[in-house]
Symmetry: C2
Subunit: 205 residues, 2 copies
DNA sequence: ACAGCCATGTAACTTGTTACATGATTTT
DNA sequence: AAAATCATGTAACAAGTTACATGGCTGT
């Protein structure tokens, strides 16, 4: 839900035609998130379907300009005001993967953690390099913001992986790795509730 | 791509029926990622379509057991060995959002950053609380791993947001917030390449 | 009897994404 | 003329997610 909303926010600045939206998106994200052109047109049609934009007539160059509607502007305001909710769609694949790997027999978990750590470190160094070749001007600010985000995320990832490795080393015998649960669910009501913990993420809208 | 792979990895431990897969997934993620039951069956059908699992006969209880295929096992091995690639699908919505917001006129960007920071801090405290009520046993390890991931991510988020706020404060006049680009793309070849930077993320498979 | 879980499934939908077709225009 | 870009679109698909239907079983 970020391409859709981003395009809408750009259209809130004034009418654009499709191809123009791509370069605006590129410019505003410092070219860190290349966007397939086709997706622009898909997204515009979906936004039109939802009555958030309106298709204008083509000008003398054949450019088809799209206009935001009042509902669209309201949606942009709502998007900007509301915090991004972590994370209904897009479950963190890495967290789930490692959590599952930890429950698998064999040394798989430690290996996966190590492999991921190597990869994260490599990425971290690349990002630091990108971050150094600063540049200036408005485009550079957008780019720096996104690179910072990736830097912080990569650092956090390494820190987390190290913590997981510690936990694995501390565990006597990957206690969870007992294959499938000994007591599988049976039909009928369970003696005790399975769900002892509350979910940590908000349910989707 | 984490539900699909996770279910496959669980099936690699031995045949399961659908409902059982849900409780296994819950158990192995410390109940931090509640899963709609229907998704299990969808995913199983898609895995069957891709020849990664095989549907077995129902037992005396009517339980339909699913078996992993050789291709499925190979896929699990591949998944565990390969690092998670950041981030082809699931562009980081927050990073894109803030990057775009920074390019919008008005105080929107600073407001959005502040709002998000508040939300992140709140989440951070909740997570610390969850982390303290430790518990023990194998389930607790899985849960701790996932909570750690969210903790590290939330901390990184706050750190990043502060850095963005600094940048915004340092910028004389949100220099990027000039509405749409003055020189819009024209037909034909551009004088200079638009894409001065290389994309930072690997293109999708 | 009733609530509530166990269990399987179907249909629909969302966003993201890519591959491809098509043609105009401009630079080399 | 060829290459590259500008520009608009279409068709298909992936994965995630939810809502709903259906029935069996069990504890109160």
């Amino acid at each position: 839900m970020s391409v859709r909303q981003s395009l809408l926010a750009i259209l809130d600045q004034g009418p654009c035609y499709g191809y123009q939206l791509r370069s605006e998106f590129d410019r505003r994200t410092g070219s860190t998130r290349p966007l397939n052109v086709g997706q622009i047109y898909n997204t515009l049609e979906r936004l039109e379907r939802d009555a958030l934009v309106r298709r204008g007539d083509a000008d003398e160059h054949g450019h088809v300009y799209w206009h935001i509607t009042d509902a669209g502007s309201a949606e942009v305001a709502r998007w900007l005001a509301a915090p991004v909710v972590r994370t209904t769609a897009a479950r963190d694949e890495l967290a789930v993967k490692i959590a599952v790997a930890v429950t698998l027999p064999g040394a798989d978990a430690a290996t996966a953690v190590a492999a991921q750590r190597e990869d994260s470190l490599r990425r971290l160094h690349e990002l630091r390099r990108s971050s150094d070749e600063a540049g200036d001007g408005p485009e550079a600010l957008a780019r720096a913001v996104v690179i910072d985000a990736m830097l912080c995320a990569a650092e956090a990832e390494v820190r987390w992986l190290d913590r997981v490795a510690e936990r694995l080393a501390a565990e006597p015998q990957h206690a969870l790795a007992l294959g499938l649960a000994a007591d599988r669910p049976k039909r009928g009501r369970p003696a005790r509730a399975l769900q002892t913990h509350s979910p940590l993420i908000a349910p989707g809208k």
